[in-house]
């Protein structure tokens, strides 16, 4: 029997090497040609407390974390108690009998694994417990050992040959133990069909950081906050390599302020935060909209409101991204639908920000930002980068017949698409005052009816244009299906798997997930909405934020499916729910 999809969860006390065990396995699996997708739950406690790291390995690409666990490695009793329920009845439980006592009525295939004993007594190397476990797990799903060997070498080489060898021994000890003690282990063996070996393993946060660099971002300011800090920390290290700079501001108000300053001074600039920090940026989001300064704000959503549950998942900030800001405050909102998409939508975010001189909010979330996944390596010379439209001193904007009117540069000159050429400090004749006050074409503050009317239209005209250039929505399923699923962001992963499974069971579904959520791209959504008999909108929030936005623009009935427990959709649950809903329409 072969399998092509396996979920492994390593659970135990936070800080006990859970994450490093998981990461080692992940990279080894990737090199073995598997697709990998990880999911972890940091503890609620500051240190200690229960944590797990989960890896889904598959031959085909998978899109969600997997509903249940095939192999549970429980380092301690709490890990067993908390995770047993999510482990399949015919799953495999690997545990150290010195730490864990499984319940009497457990259905699992159980493998006692004296991890501590092996590490301490056999190897005389107690901290190698994790590597022993890695060896065991690798053997269970039949991963070629060469990848592990080389990974261990790369990892410990700096510490000297001896350390490498000790770890290789630990690995071998784990492998040997499994060979010896787990007879029916081929049921867990995995055979990659397609090779994913050329792929890269990235987290959503890293993909955003990479996308930013690729798009030409040269300034980033942020403030630590879960789950967005990683983006700042990634860019602090890597942005200087291009001559750019990333820094930690004193708070989020300062971070967005610095971003606007950098943008004014000519840089492509961004910040990254989560809900509480995003809320603090709202006033200056309006300044960016009014002064027409390009900028990118990444909001890695987490469960709210307020401080909420910093390590839990929710798609609860769409309203905020789309509607916050006093006055009529135009902005673009993009939502990547996968880890891979985080890279591309970040590039798009910068491109749209520059092209339309408007703030762009990129909505990540705990699920996307934190998880690592193997994704095809983006082909960089296919990545299109848009640069700022600058007025040129001899009378024209670059590629544009406007920008200097009668010898005068007018920063906010009225144009057909609402976009006016910018200038950069130092540019001769380009002096203007960026301001949050209403202003005329020259940028001077004016309060008359005509100016405010015309300039409001100008700012929104840009958005209307931008909608036509929205990154194509994510489509999956049968375009002819009568039942449509409209969704957004990371929920796409679960929905794709639902559709796959439903298809096998004869239920045809079609998905559209727009990647631009504000403004809504009419050319994509209208045909979809008009062609489906039933439309289902699943999202991870209470009020149905996306469903409400869709309804207000495309009035009709929609079936809403909402969960709000801090977790993403389970595929089986969502499919069942969709079945129920669809049944009512037949």
């Amino acid at each position: 029997m072969t399998r092509n999809d396996l979920v492994i969860r390593v659970a135990g006390e936070a800080g006990e090497g859970i994450v490093s065990t998981g990461q080692l396995l992940t990279q080894a699996a990737l090199r073995g040609g598997f697709h990998v997708l990880t999911y972890s739950q940091p503890p609620s406690e500051i240190k200690g407390g229960h944590a797990f790291y989960q890896i889904r390995l598959s031959a085909d690409r998978s899109y969600s974390k997997g509903d249940s666990v095939d192999i549970l490695l429980a380092f301690n009793q709490e890990a067993y108690d908390r995770n047993a329920a999510e482990t399949k009845d015919d799953g495999l439980l690997v545990y150290d009998p010195s730490e864990v006592t499984p319940s009497a009525d457990s259905h699992f295939v159980q493998v006692e694994f004296p991890l501590n004993d092996i590490a301490k007594n056999q190897l005389k190397f107690p901290i190698a417990k994790n590597v022993v476990a890695v060896g065991a797990l690798a053997e269970l799903f039949d991963l070629p050992t060469k990848h592990l060997d080389s990974l261990i070498e790369e990892r410990w080489l700096r510490k000297g040959e001896a350390v490498v060898q000790k770890n290789l021994d630990a690995l071998r000890a784990g492998i040997d133990y499994v060979i010896e003690h787990v007879p029916q282990r081929d049921r867990f063996a995995l055979y990659p069909e397609k090779s994913h070996a050329g792929e890269i393993v990235v987290s959503g946060s890293e993909a955003i950081g990479l996308g930013a660099i690729a798009a030409g971002c040269s300034f980033m300011a942020g403030y630590p906050i879960t789950p967005a800090s990683d983006i700042k920390e990634f860019l602090e290290i890597h942005l200087p390599k291009t001559g750019g700079h990333a820094l930690q501001a004193e708070d989020e108000l300062a971070a967005i302020g610095m971003v606007l300053g950098a943008s004014y001074a000519g840089s492509k600039a961004m910040t990254a935060t989560s809900g509480p920090g995003f809320s603090l940026m709202i006033e200056m989001l309006g300044l960016a909209a009014m002064a027409e300064l390009p900028c990118v704000i990444v909001d890695a959503q987490r469960a709210g409101p307020s401080t909420g549950m910093p390590t839990r998942h929710e798609q609860g900030d769409l309203y905020q991204a789309a509607f916050a800001g006093h006055g009529e405050c135009p902005r673009i909102v993009l939502a990547p639908t996968s880890v891979r998409d985080c890279f591309y939508q970040t590039v798009n975010a910068f491109n749209l920000a520059e092209k339309y001189q408007t703030p762009v909010v990129l909505l990540g979330d705990t699920l996307l930002n934190v998880r690592s996944e193997s994704v095809p390596r983006p082909i960089l010379n296919e990545v299109k980068v848009v640069d700022r439209l600058l007025f040129s001193e001899n009378g024209n904007g670059v590629g544009n017949e406007v920008g200097r009117m009668n010898g005068e540069y007018n920063r906010y000159v009225l144009t057909e698409n609402g976009v006016s050429p910018m200038s950069i400090p130092g540019q001769e004749g380009g002096q203007y005052i960026a301001t949050g006050l209403e202003h005329n074409e020259e940028g001077l503050h004016r309060y008359d009816e005509a100016t405010h009317t015309i300039m409001t239209q100008k700012r929104f005209r840009k958005l209307e244009r931008a909608a036509h250039e929205a990154p194509e929505g994510d489509r999956f399923g049968d375009p002819e299906a009568e039942i449509g699923i409209l969704t957004w962001g990371s929920t796409v992963g679960s929905v794709i798997e639902v559709i796959r499974q439903a298809e096998q069971e004869g239920l045809k579904l079609d998905m559209l997930a727009p990647r631009m959520l504000m403004p809504l791209p009419d050319h994509e959504i209208r045909p979809f909405v008009e062609s489906k008999r039933v439309i289902i909108i699943p999202e991870v929030n209470y009020v149905g934020q996306f469903a409400n936005m869709i309804t207000s623009q495309y009035p009709r009935d929609y079936v809403r499916i909402n969960i709000f427990g801090g977790m993403p959709f389970r595929v089986d649950w969502l499919l069942e729910k969709i079945r129920e809903e669809v049944a009512q329409y037949v």
Binding site: L260, G261, Y264, L287
Partner: protein
């Protein structure tokens, strides 16, 4: 940035904008504006290479009346905006201008961090002890009890001492100016611009419309120049003179050399930088 070589020295008028100041007649801010023009012309900067950042308030309108690049931001946030500008244009002189409410009420947290970073800008606070633009409420520099039209019950808290605050947070150039001493003020601003690091110039700039106590006359009587032999490298002396309430001293209290924000950014970059795409490809390699 610019390749234009200027031979002739620029005049004050070369820095004037098209927009006439909208301040009330008699406002102290006129004097400060003139001092800014003067300081810029002393440096003979090309206006296109100067950036003036401000917050919100009567005083913060100043950039509109100049011919420089400018950013009239939002209330209290001039400092982070200036930092962002300097991070990407570290060679362009940046002046920050604004009011006492902007600087010491809503903006004081950012001020402290801009000082701590030793951001290389010159920040002139036009201090009138009131919120002019919102019609005369008392500000953090109002003496306890100061009553105005909008605060008839009188300011409830003691005034902040901006100079002590700046000194305590490590400011490398601390001065006090007065709008009605335009020559001295212009000189302070010129030196503040020349200073490598954060130059903070608290400047009395009376609001005759809403503050009938702290008038030009009031400040003329209450102030005195720092002694001629005052040593602005003596931190303790600076603290002591800054704490004085009678008289209020005018001049440069303190100046020191420290690494700047911009130094840090420069040093943080590798000798040789790479194109964005090269950096990304390298990272991809590491991730596979």
């Amino acid at each position: 940035m610019s390749s234009v070589v200027t031979v002739e020295k620029r005049k004050v008028n070369d820095y004037k904008g098209d927009e006439r100041p909208t301040w009330c007649p008699g406002c102290g801010d006129f004097g400060v504006l003139n001092a800014v023009f003067k300081a810029l012309s002393d440096h003979n900067f090309d206006p296109k290479n100067v950036i003036i950042v401000s917050g919100i308030g009567c005083s913060s309108r100043l950039p509109f009346f100049t011919d420089a690049y400018g950013f009239h931001t939002v209330h209290g946030r001039a400092m982070p905006v200036a930092a962002g500008i300097r991070a990407v244009q570290p060679d362009m002189p940046v002046l920050a201008m604004g009011g006492d409410g902007d600087a010491f009420a809503i903006g004081v947290g950012h001020l402290i961090h801009a000082i701590r970073r030793n951001l290389n800008i010159c920040y002139v606070v036009m201090d009138n002890a009131v919120y002019g633009l919102t019609k005369g409420q008392t500000s953090p520099t109002a003496e306890r009890g100061l009553a105005t039209k909008a605060t008839p019950q009188g300011a409830s808290d003691p005034a902040v001492n901006p100079l002590l605050l700046a000194l305590a947070t490590g400011c490398t150039f601390v001065a006090r100016g007065f709008s009605s001493k335009p020559k001295e003020l212009a000189d302070l601003i010129a030196r503040g611009i020349a200073h490598e690091g954060f130059a903070f110039i608290d400047t009395y700039s009376p609001c005759p419309t809403f503050n009938t106590v702290n008038t030009f006359k009031y400040y003329r009587d209450a102030t005195d120049d720092l002694p001629a032999d005052f040593d602005p490298t003596d931190f303790n002396a600076a603290l002591q003179y800054a704490a004085s309430e009678d008289p209020l001293y005018l001049g440069l209290y303190y100046q020191a050399e420290q690494p700047t924000f911009e130094d840090h950014i420069r040093n943080n970059k590798p000798e040789v930088t790479n194109s964005a795409m090269t950096v990304v490809e390298d990272l991809f390699d590491q991730m596979s």
